[in-house]
Amino acid sequence: MSVALSAPDISRALTRISHEILEANQKSDQITLLGIPTRGAHLALRVAAIMSQIAGHEIAVGMLDITMHRDDLRLRPPRAIMPTSIPTQGVEGRDVILIDDVLFSGRTIRAALDALGEIGRPHTVQLAALVDRGHRELPIRADFVGKNLPTSPTQSVKLHLTEIDGVDEVLIEGN
């Protein structure tokens, strides 16, 4: 087990992602951030706070649970459904940035696109991930990445956040 990102690393990465999103999306009042629970939702709140400071106004932020759209439900014990909360502006015609903690097979993002499609038709959908560890199984890529971490498929990458785990860090386990 080794620490791949420390607390300051994570903080720097989120700040950089925030700047990049604003650079790529000139109309910042059209942006809606949607975090994927559980840790992606907390990252979304942090990114929204940073972006709001830079932009000088509140950035819309919510969370999108993708459990019911997963394609691996049958392979695992039942999962608890997490809350979904869409900001009052909705998603119709907006620039939606999905925020996830670790981008891996891409299946979570596929489920998120399905879940989003049930809610409305955004102008664009973009993806931000704190860590991209590779090994994609679907044609999906992130628009904004905090850190590319080369891993082997048998390793596991874990994000800890102070809101849940009491500490900010990214760990790699196994070999």
Binding site: M68, P78, A80
Partner: protein, 315 residues
């Protein structure tokens, strides 16, 4: 959890997780989303050996909103009405590859027989068996109560519920007593002594024959349907006398707490156990119970079927 046969099979944590799942599903389905892909490719059979349009429709809607394939197998016109045994029906369903069977049956314990007999492998969901239990109704009732009377807690601690009417023959009452007390509510049963089972003194409830004295003390008044044929079985003299002592009349409605709600599992006998004006009053959440029924049944199907580990490695 593989089957839902009786509330007594649920832990408090499991019961709350079904209610929480239903809460999240309600949020999703209140919006534009009418259908989720969660149970795509799953086959759910509604096996209704006893007529019950509302429960069948509710389960059917729940299954379809989760994209399951639904097969309805009802008493009339099916082999069930031609004397086919429960065993042969189960073997047929197994051969058809049913992932779950939602069963309504006139015989108490029929769902448990189906689940424990080895006749079929799928999940069994009790949609009402004889005078035994009706767990999905109790879950939707608890969901409705938590929504209206809950103070933000996940359980029903401190909420006072009166269940009024034919307790003896009521599967709704049995499931509700188990679930509401499991969740911390206090339950009073109000009925003529003829319509309380021998042994009820050992249930975790208070018993009363006096509706008027209990009404002002509760947060929920849950009325039960009274079958007309009970009169010929000597349970009470006539409908008028029943209504006078145990009907929820407008006068009794006025005795209720300002925030207390009126519930009824349906179908109602307006004018017998509940006055029409009460059923249609602002206190009544009876129509909402029906809507909540679909959401709660979606949650039940999700919890039982979405993560079925039996299928792993079978392909």
């Amino acid at each position: 959890m593989r089957h839902l046969l009786s509330i007594s099979d649920l832990s408090k944590i499991e019961a709350i997780s079904i209610l929480d799942t239903a809460t999240e599903l309600a949020r999703v389905t209140d919006g534009a989303v009418k259908k989720l892909p969660t149970l795509r490719g799953r086959t759910i059979v509604n096996l209704f050996a006893e007529d019950s349009t509302r429960t069948r429709i509710s389960f059917e809607a729940a299954a379809k909103r989760l994209s399951a394939d639904v097969i309805n197998f009802s008493a009339k016109g099916s082999s069930l009405s031609k004397g086919e045994s429960l065993k042969d029906t189960a073997l047929t369903l197994q051969a058809m590859g049913a992932d779950a069977v939602v069963i309504r049956h006139g015989a108490s314990g029929a769902p448990q027989r189906l689940a424990t007999s080895q006749w079929m492998l799928g999940s069994v969901i009790n949609a009402g068996d004889g005078t035994h239990e009706h767990p999905s109704q109790a879950l939707l009732d608890a969901f409705t109560i938590r929504k209206h009377c809950g103070k933000g807690a996940p359980d029903l601690l401190g909420i006072r519920v009166a269940i009024v009417g034919d307790i003896l023959h009521s599967r709704v009452a049995r499931s509700n007593v188990l679930l509401l007390t499991l969740l911390g509510a206090s339950v009073t049963l109000i009925a003529p002594p003829t319509l309380l089972p021998v042994g009820v003194e050992n249930w975790p409830v208070t018993i009363s024959y006096d509706f008027d004295s209990i009404i002002p003390t509760v947060d929920v008044v849950m009325m039960l349907r009274v079958q007309q044929e009970r009169m010929s079985d000597l349970f009470f003299p006539n409908a008028r006398e029943y209504s006078r002592y145990f009907g929820l009349t407008l006068e009794r409605l006025r005795l209720m707490n300002p925030n207390a709600i009126v519930m009824h599992p349906g179908p109602m006998n307006r004018g017998l156990e509940i006055a029409a004006e009460v059923a249609d009053s602002a206190r009544s959440v009876i129509v909402e119970q029906v809507a909540n029924g679909v959401t709660v049944r979606m949650a039940i199907l999700y919890v039982l079927l979405a993560g079925h580990s039996l299928e792993v490695g079978s392909k």
